[in-house]
Symmetry: C2
Subunit: 210 residues, 2 copies
Amino acid sequence: MKTRIAVMVSGGGTNLQALLDAWKSGQFNQAEISLVVSNQEKAKALDRARAVHVPALFLNPAQYKDRQAYDQQLLKSFQENKIDLICLAGYMRILTTVIVRQYEQRIMNIHPALLPAFGGEGMYGLHVHEAVMQSGAKYSGCTVHFVDEGTDTGPIILQAVVPVLDHDTPDKLAERVLIEEHRLYPRAVSLFCEGRLQVAGKRVLIKEKA
Amino acid sequence: MKTRIAVMVSGGGTNLQALLDAWKSGQFNQAEISLVVSNQEKAKALDRARAVHVPALFLNPAQYKDRQAYDQQLLKSFQENKIDLICLAGYMRILTTVIVRQYEQRIMNIHPALLPAFGGEGMYGLHVHEAVMQSGAKYSGCTVHFVDEGTDTGPIILQAVVPVLDHDTPDKLAERVLIEEHRLYPRAVSLFCEGRLQVAGKRVLIKEKA
């Protein structure tokens, strides 16, 4: 049985593209990207999905009375498509418990900093890189983690480190981090599909290849 | 004029040893380690200083009515010895404003994690490595920073990164971090002595070699 993956995006979707590329080049053993969902009708990510014949679904938040109702519909789509793993890739809404509890340890997110630092409310996009630079930290990076009921608090699966340079701007730092994101997210998905991720409290241990 | 350095220690002093070794091997251009101070009479660090003929001073906290009075005496010793730079190397007391204000941007500390994460009250020694491991972070490291009036909040000078491994214990992680500490602290002191550290808010930029 293949692991069926849904990717959720709100924007350009370069992380989605990295996942699609990894899949198409055979990096995901026994898995397929089965669905791409966006809350933004014009998200470029939907075009990226369609370009490789992956079903691309726009779910309009304006048509639901609240986030719970929206997530109920999302959940229905995931179940209908027999989704095993949900990958958030620049999805700019907080998932409610409606989904988080049904997909415990089966939802991943990528965050553009070294969690547990520089996470939480308000820490998204360039805000993260601005905060890193203002802190004076000499290293930043990115984190793929399981999603729990908090914001950026779930078990950390993989991280990658990049230097913060003296002449950086938040934009330049974001670019350097993004290159690592595109490498890291496919690796995390691969490990999941191979059944090699073992959650122990807040830690995720990686089992040897069988 | 040589930069005159005082090192403050409470314990074994392996970071002091790293600084002494760097100095003796000629890494500190135009600087000398002029004084080692401890609040612990039996600190092995005092022996390390004496072994290379550096004045080693034990100041007994029990003889002073409070931390301010103690730090007044410390300050007097620094001034008598014309100290330009104070390096905390496992000094297990918080410096009061008595010293911090007189030596603004001339006191350094080394912390065994990647600040701003895993710093603050209670974060010292193995507690730091335990907290890192419990968080599930995949990287840790060490930080040399200037000391300000907060705990572990001053401008970051240099950092080094080490991986956290699946089979780590806090002790093993501490060892791996310590190796980097011994490299990092002498580099930071070197840069200071060469006048190459430029503080801009919370950031420390490193000037090109003249």
